[in-house]
Each structure stands twice: as structure tokens, then as C-alpha cells.
Amino acid sequence: MSKEPVAVVGIGQTQHAAARRDVSIAGLVREAARRALDDAALDWRDVEAVVIGKASDFFEGVMTPELYLADALGATGKPLLRVHTAGSVGGSTALVAANLVAARVTAPF
């Protein structure tokens, strides 16, 4: 099967600081996601699946935090994956998301 070309159409990142005491964990990820959607001129409903990359759960003290973050990332009713490949997780997460788009498994009927 020929592989579907996949593009990055929006990026977002949070304001980085030594400690972001002004937001919750959910608020922090939502800040980055909202900026990526704005950059792509998309909205939450345009997204078909959500992939979260994060290294060890011990960093924040929340086990499998994708469950708690599902609402903040507009993932409810959608497929949600949590990738953890240690320090490489940022790159691995993009690979998993790109494969989901390339395989078109989550596209609407």
C-alpha cells in the first residue's frame, strides 16, 4: 500500500517558565493544543484522534494522565493514545500520530 503523505499543519507551545503556577496540568496542555489549533485555523471538532506523549508518570505524580487530560484536549468520544518512550517521546508521539493519519483509521465513515 502506498503511504499517504502527511503534513504538520499547525504548531503550538506553552510559555515556558521554571514553574507555571498559574495553570493546572490540564490548563498547560490545553494552552499548547489551543495554539496549535489556532495556527492551523482548526477547532477541537476538526480533530479525529488525540495522541499524548509524556515520559514517566512520576514527574507529575499522575498515573496514566491521559484519562484526566481527555476533557482538556477535546478527546472525549475519540481515540486517545498515550505514548511513553522516555526521552524520545516527543518524536515518537509525532510518528504515532502521523501513522494514524497515513493509515486513515480514524476518518469519519
Binding site: 505524580g61 498515550r82 505514548v83
Partner: protein, 359 residues
């Protein structure tokens, strides 16, 4: 925004489960490392598929640092895989059923023809009920330490209040799962015991899963490679998974719309099923899933004994997929459903439909 115009879907590559192996699940495995727990399981599954260590095009695993008790714990299990020379590998901090999903997607892209998928859980290392409370909202719920049995009991009481079940019905579910587990040499609880005292009302001892250490692995293969590896491949006709809101207060705990949506997308309702392997750690959750999946009375549910007979957290869902596939491999079923769950009270659900070739 302008409407996105979806390209026509390319013809899907058929992908099958061609091998499945699991450990004997135990209440505790003191002195055994995760790599030692996995090594015989990986050797078994690779032998079945005729693959040498490192030969699979892709490797993907599922596990939890909170169960292992140390960060980056999955990296240690790679010693059992053999990661030199380097292998293409990924890991989800989820049940291995979702590692299988990631590997399935990888095979659909055509980037890999074979994948090794494995999962393990050493649930015995801490107080599992309390450890799982760390999955909850860290600001509003986790500080109260509501444990997993208490949350399942809320769900069970909601089902009883709605008239969907009663305590006698739950006792029958517990007894049926553990009685059929007698035929499963890997199961931990292999006989029906008394319903027992309340753990958290209305759930009694027998309504709750055992605490288990264990591991499981499958090999996936595409197209003709799958046909070469097994005379009866268990073809994945569809897999989908959906998550629900996290806060229990905004969910109807007697229903599972995420399971229903995943089942629709996986094609579960398109034709009759021979059997279903459901990831229901609590008896009451089998009631929810049977309802959401609209399982007919003649569908065999959990011939392995299910999560009530062995519950190595993070591997239990992958075992459901493996058990369903193994029935097809042995010619005991032609069309089977496998389900996996994650999170409190069935928050996140995965459904797969597996089929053998027509006779």
C-alpha cells in the same frame, strides 16, 4: 475554515494475530524481574511465529511505571526483547491492547510486515486499589484517595438501582467466569468460591478481580506473511477505541457509549459473533458491557475466565485479544470480539473484531 476533502480510503492491508503467549498469572512473583517474567513469554510467541529475536519489523509494548515502582521501567524489559542491533520500537503507558492498536496502525501503513506486541504488570508490588486512585484528577479526586473497588461499587449500585442487575446476578457472573477458568492453565483463580463478604457494598469478594502478576505477547503479521505463519490467522476485521469524560459525575455509569461507538466502528454489529472476551475486572462491569455490545444469549462470554480469573494490570486487555485470537487459531470460533478497558469505571474502551478465513 474550508472543508477538508478526504482522499478515497486505500484498500486496507489485512492484518492478523498469528501467535499468542502468556505467563501463568500469580498473586505475586517475588524475586522475578519484569524482564525475567517476559523472557519465556516472548520466546514462546516468537517460536510460534517462526521469528528470531529482533526479527520482527516493529516492537510495541504496554506497561506502567506506577506498577513497576520506578520511572522508565519499560526500558529494562527491552533486555528480554534483544534490542541490539537497534530495533524499531515504541511503548504506550497503557494496557497492551493499545500497544497492539499502535502496531496494527503501523502495519496498515505498509512500513512493517510483522510486529511483536507485549505487555506486563506486576500488580503485587503495592496496594493496587490505592495505586489506581493515582489515575484520578490530581486536584479534585486523587487527594481523597477513592480506591478502584469503591468506584466500581458506585457503578454496581447504579446498575442495581436502575434494575440492570442484582447481587444474585453478580454472584452468577463471578461463578461462571471462575468455573470456566478451570480449563485455562494460565488463570490464577480456577474455581468458583463463595460470594464472600462485602468489600465495598454492594461488591463482595467474588465480584472483585484477583491481584495478579503476569505478562502476555502476540505477533501480528500482514497479508501473505500472516498466511505463512499460521494456517488459520485471526484476521483483525476492525479495531477502534474511544474515551469518555474523566469526571464520574458527568457519566451515566450504567452505560458505555464509548464501547458502543468503538464496536460500531470495529464492525461488531455487522454479523453474529461466536464469542466475546470482555475486559471486565468487576462482575458489574460485565453487565455494562453485555448491554452496550448487545451480545446475543448464544455468544460465549469469557471462555478464558476473563479478568475475574487473572488480572495482571496492563496485560489483561491484551490477553483478551490473544485469547480470542487463539480460539480462532484452534478452529473453535470463526468470529470473535475482544474488548479492553482503561480508567475508572470503564472510562476508555477498545473493541476488536477477529475472524478466521471462511471454511
Amino acid at each position: 475554515m474550508a472543508a477538508l476533502s478526504p482522499a478515497p480510503a486505500p484498500a486496507p492491508v489485512p492484518v492478523a494475530v498469528v501467535a499468542f503467549a502468556q505467563s501463568d498469572h500469580r498473586r505475586a512473583t517475588p524475586g522475578t524481574s519484569e524482564a525475567e517474567l517476559l523472557l519465556p513469554v516472548l520466546r514462546d510467541v516468537l517460536d510460534q511465529a517462526g521469528l528470531a529475536p529482533g526479527e520482527a519489523d516493529f516492537t510495541c509494548s504496554g506497561s506502567s511505571d506506577y506498577l513497576a515502582g520506578r520511572p522508565f521501567s519499560f526500558t529494562l524489559t527491552l533486555d528480554a526483547v534483544g534490542a541490539w542491533p537497534p530495533v524499531a520500537e515504541s511503548h504506550v503507558e497503557m494496557d497492551g491492547a493499545w500497544a497492539l492498536y499502535e502496531a496494527w496502525v503501523k502495519l496498515l501503513t505498509g512500513e512493517a510486515d510483522t510486529a511483536l506486541v507485549y505487555a506486563h504488570g506486576t500488580s503485587s508490588a503495592g496496594s493496587l486499589r490505592d495505586v489506581l486512585s493515582r489515575q484520578l484528577d490530581p486536584y479534585y479526586a486523587a487527594p481523597l484517595w477513592p480506591d478502584s473497588v469503591a468506584l466500581a461499587a458506585l457503578q454496581a449500585q447504579a446498575l442495581i438501582d436502575a434494575g440492570d442487575t442484582d447481587e444474585d446476578d453478580l454472584a452468577r457472573i463471578a461463578a461462571r467466569n471462575r468455573t470456566v477458568a478451570r480449563a485455562n492453565p494460565h488463570a490464577q483463580l480456577r474455581a468458583a468460591g463463595p460470594h464472600g463478604d462485602y468489600v465495598v457494598r454492594p461488591l463482595r469478594t467474588a465480584d472483585c478481580p484477583p491481584v495478579s502478576d503476569g505478562a502476555a505477547a502476540v505477533v501480528l503479521a500482514a497479508g501473505d506473511t500472516a498466511r505463512r505463519m499460521h494456517e488459520r490467522p485471526a484476521w483483525i476485521r476492525g479495531i477502534d477505541h474511544r474515551v469518555e469524560p474523566h469526571a464520574l459525575g458527568v457519566r451515566d455509569l450504567t452505560d458505555s457509549p464509548s464501547t458502543r461507538r468503538a464496536a460500531e466502528r470495529a464492525g461488531a454489529y455487522d454479523a453474529p459473533l461466536d464469542l466475546a472476551e470482555l475486559h471486565a475486572p468487576f462482575t458489574s462491569q460485565e453487565v455494562v458491557l453485555r448491554k452496550a455490545l448487545r451480545l446475543a444469549d448464544d455468544v460465549r462470554v469469557n471462555p478464558s475466565g476473563g479478568a475475574l480469573a487473572a488480572n495482571p494490570v496492563m496485560a489483561t486487555g491484551l490477553i483478551r485479544l490473544g485469547e480470542a485470537a487463539a480460539r480462532i487459531h484452534r478452529g473453535e470460533a470463526r468470529r470473535a470480539l475482544a474488548h479492553a478497558t482503561s480508567g475508572p469505571c470503564l472510562q476508555h474502551n477498545l473493541v476488536a473484531v477477529l475472524e478466521g478465513d471462511s471454511a
